[in-house]
C-alpha cells in the first residue's frame, strides 16, 4: 500500500508516480492531500507537501488524480482535518464519492472529533479509516476497532511519519490492535525497507503502508515514476 503526495512534483508527475505504483502491483494507493501544517508528518513528507503546494496543488486537483487512478485500483485519501473542514464535511464526502475514492484517513481527527465525518462517510459508503497507536489504551483500541471501516491503520511507532531503518518488531502492537477489531489491520509509519515490510507481514499485518521511503525516492531521483515503480516492486516481492 504505497503512499503518494498528491501534486508532487506537480499533478501530472504525481499521476505518473501513481500509475507506476499500480503497474508495480500495489493493492491500494494512499493519496495525500498537501497541507501547510502537517503535524503527523516528518520532514520528507512535509517537504514534498511544501513543493506540491508551491506547484499549485489543490484538493480538487488531487481528487482528479484519484478519479483517474480509482479506475485501476482502490484509492484512499489522506487529508488533514482543516482541509475537510474548509470544504465542509458533507461536500467533502460528496467530492470523494464522485472521484471514486474508497476510503479516507484524517490523521489529526481522533474518534472523539470524528462523529460528523463518520456519519457522512458511512452514509456515502466511504470507509473512514481510523488510526491506532502504540500508546492507545485498550479502552481506546476497543472504540477505534469497533468504528473502523475498510481497514484499521496501525501506527508502528510513536512519532511522525519517516524512515526508521532499525525497527522490525511489530508483533506486540499488531496483536493488541487485532484483538479489538474485525477489519483488516494495516501497518505504517517508519517502514522503509523490504525486510521490514516482510517482518510486518510475518507479524500479522494484512497490509503495509510505505510512505516516506517512496516520497524520498520521488524527491531524489531524476525519473521519479520509474524509480518509485521499481521500489514498489521490491516491496511487493518481499511481501509475496
Amino acid at each position: 500500500m504505497p503512499y503518494l503526495m498528491g501534486g508532487y512534483p506537480d499533478i501530472e508527475g504525481s499521476l505518473a508516480i501513481a500509475n507506476g505504483y499500480a503497474d508495480a502491483g500495489a493493492d491500494l494507493i494512499e493519496l495525500g492531500v498537501p497541507f501547510s501544517d502537517p503535524l503527523a508528518d516528518g520532514p520528507i513528507i512535509q517537504s514534498a507537501g511544501t513543493v506540491a503546494l508551491a506547484a499549485g496543488s489543490t484538493l480538487d486537483a488531487v481528487l482528479g488524480v484519484a478519479r483517474t487512478m480509482s479506475e485501476r485500483l482502490p484509492v484512499v485519501l489522506m487529508a488533514y482535518a482543516n482541509i475537510v473542514l474548509a470544504r465542509g464535511v458533507d461536500p467533502f464526502i460528496d467530492d470523494l464519492l464522485s472521484a471514486g475514492v474508497s476510503g479516507v484517513i484524517v490523521p489529526d481527527l481522533p474518534i472523539e472529533e470524528s462523529l460528523l465525518l463518520f456519519a457522512s462517510a458511512q452514509s456515502a459508503g466511504i470507509a473512514l479509516i481510523p488510526l491506532a497507536a502504540p500508546t492507545s489504551t485498550d479502552e481506546r483500541l476497543a472504540e477505534i476497532g469497533s468504528q473502523a471501516r475498510g481497514f484499521l491503520y496501525t501506527v508502528a511507532v510513536s512519532g511522525t511519519t519517516g524512515e526508521r531503518g532499525e525497527q522490525s518488531d511489530y508483533g506486540e502492537v499488531l496483536a493488541r490492535v487485532r484483538e479489538h477489531t474485525d477489519v483488516p489491520v494495516a501497518l505504517g509509519f517508519g517502514i522503509s525497507r523490504p525486510e521490514q515490510a516482510s517482518a510486518a507481514a510475518d507479524a500479522g499485518a494484512d497490509g503495509v503502508i510505505i510512505g516516506s521511503r517512496l516520497v524520498r525516492e520521488a524527491l531524489e531521483q531524476p525519473e521519479p515514476a520509474q524509480a518509485c515503480k521499481a521500489l514498489v516492486e521490491q516491496f511487493a516481492a518481499a511481501l509475496r
Partner: protein, 392 residues
C-alpha cells in the same frame, strides 16, 4: 481518581485535533491537572514559587503621564516586572511543577518572542529538568538576547527552518517532538492554544494576573475598571486578565491583535479582528488566517509574540458571544507606542503590549478608567526596534 472533566469546548471552538498517539497523553495531562489543582500541597508549592521566585503579586501602576495623554485614568498591570520579564513564567512554572508530578523529566517548549522559551528554560533550571525549545530561525535572528539567555539557562534551542520560520512552525515542530517522545516528555505550550486541556490549564495558570489586578484596582479606586485591554497573539495574558472580569458585565474586554502592515493587505496577525474563518490549527478549532482551501496563512507582525495565524479558542468564543471585542493595531503604531511609553513613563514595554497601549492612547472612548496588561518588558526588542526606527 476524579470524575471531573476540564472544559474541552468553548461553544463551537476548542477540541482535540491531534494524532491518536497523543490522545492518551492528553487524557493523562487532564487527569494530572485536575488532581494537582485540587491538591493543597501543589497549590502551596506553586504559590510560594510565584511569590518568592517569580515576584508575585506584580504591582498595579497608575501611569499618570499616559493617563494625561489619553484623557482618562490608565493603570498598568506590571507583568513586565515578573522574573524573566513577562507573564509567561506564571504558566511555565506551573506546568513544569506539573511535569515533575507526572514523572516527566524532559520538557519541550516552543517560543516566538523568546519569552516563553526563557520562562520554560528558567523553570527547568530551577527544577532540574531537561529543556528543548523550538524557535523559528527568523525569530532567533530578531530575538537574540533571549536566545542567549536560554543557552545560559541550559536549554537547547532548536532552530526551525520550515515555512516563514516563525511561531507557527515552532509550535508544529514542538508537537512533532512530543508525538515522538510522549513517554518521557511534557510539552509546555506557551499560550492559551492547542488541544484540550491546554487552553484551560494555561488560563488557570495565568488568571492570577487578572485576579490580582481586580483586587488591586478595587483597593486603589474603589471600583472596577471600565475597560480591560490586553494584547492577543495566542492570547494567554489576555485570557488571564479577562477571566477575572468576564462576569463583571460593566467591564468592557478588549483584545488587541497584531495589525501588521494593515488588515486590508492580508499581512497581519489578527484572525479575531479580521473575522478569520474557524479552522483547525495545532490541535484546536478556532479563528484562523487561512485560504479557502484550508491552508494556514503566514501571519505577519513586527512583534514575534503576536506573529501567529491562530488564536486561543476561548477568545473566538468570547468574540462570537460579544463579551469581548478584538481590534488590531499596525506595526508602525505599535513601534510609536513603544517609544512613547519609554519617553513618558520610563518603561520600555515589549512590542506585544505596545499594541494595547497604542489602542488605548489613540482610540476615542467614553471610558474614564482603563486597565492595561503590560505583559512584558521590551529589552528583548531593543535592537530590532532601534534598527527599524533607523536609530542604531
Amino acid at each position: 481518581m476524579t470524575t471531573d472533566r476540564l472544559q474541552h469546548r468553548f461553544g463551537y471552538y476548542g477540541g482535540q485535533y491531534v494524532p491518536e498517539t497523543l490522545m492518551p497523553a492528553l487524557a493523562e495531562l487532564e487527569e494530572a491537572w485536575l488532581s494537582a489543582r485540587a491538591d493543597p500541597h501543589f497549590e502551596a508549592e506553586l504559590a510560594l514559587l510565584l511569590r518568592d521566585y517569580a515576584g508575585r503579586p506584580t504591582p498595579l501602576y497608575h501611569a499618570a503621564r499616559l493617563s494625561e495623554v489619553a484623557g482618562r485614568k490608565i493603570y498598568l498591570k506590571r507583568e513586565d516586572l515578573l522574573h524573566t520579564g513577562a507573564h509567561k513564567l506564571n504558566n511555565a512554572l506551573g506546568q513544569a511543577l506539573l511535569a515533575v508530578r507526572m514523572g516527566k523529566r524532559r520538557i519541550i517548549a516552543e517560543t516566538g518572542a523568546g519569552q516563553h522559551g526563557v520562562a520554560s528554560a528558567t523553570a527547568c533550571a530551577l527544577l532540574d529538568l531537561e529543556c528543548v525549545v523550538y524557535m523559528g530561525a527568523e525569530d532567533i535572528r530578531r530575538q537574540q538576547p533571549n536566545v542567549q539567555r536560554m543557552g545560559l539557562l541550559g536549554a537547547t534551542v532548536v532552530p526551525v527552518e520550515a515555512g516563514a520560520r516563525t511561531l507557527k512552525e515552532a509550535v508544529s515542530q514542538a508537537i512533532r517532538d512530543w508525538v515522538t517522545n510522549v513517554g518521557d516528555s511534557h510539552y509546555i505550550i506557551g499560550s492559551a492554544v492547542g488541544p484540550a486541556p491546554y487552553p484551560v490549564i494555561v488560563r488557570d495558570l495565568q488568571r492570577c494576573i487578572g485576579d490580582e489586578a481586580r483586587e488591586q484596582i478595587l483597593e486603589r479606586e474603589g471600583r472596577l475598571p471600565e475597560r480591560v485591554i490586553a494584547c492577543v497573539g495566542g492570547g494567554s495574558n489576555a485570557i488571564g486578565m479577562f477571566k477575572a472580569f468576564v462576569d463583571d458585565a460593566g467591564v468592557e474586554l478588549i483584545g488587541v491583535e497584531a495589525g501588521g502592515e494593515g488588515l486590508e493587505g492580508g499581512r497581519h496577525g489578527a484572525p479575531l479582528a479580521a473575522g478569520g474563518r474557524p479552522g483547525v490549527l495545532h490541535g484546536s478549532l478556532s479563528a484562523l488566517l487561512q485560504s479557502d482551501e484550508g491552508q494556514i496563512a503566514e501571519a505577519h507582525s513586527v512583534s514575534a509574540g503576536l506573529d501567529y495565524p491562530g488564536s486561543g479558542p476561548e477568545h473566538a468564543f468570547l468574540r462570537d458571544s460579544g463579551r469581548a471585542q478584538y481590534v488590531a493595531v499596525n506595526d508602525d503604531d505599535a513601534l510609536a507606542a513603544f517609544v512613547r511609553t519609554a519617553e513618558l513613563e520610563g518603561i520600555i514595554p515589549a512590542l506585544e503590549p505596545a499594541h494595547a497601549i497604542h489602542y488605548v492612547l489613540n482610540q476615542p472612548s467614553d471610558s474614564t478608567l482603563d486597565l492595561i496588561c503590560l505583559s512584558g518588558r521590551g529589552d528583548k526588542d531593543l535592537a530590532e526596534v532601534l534598527d527599524l526606527l533607523g536609530r542604531s
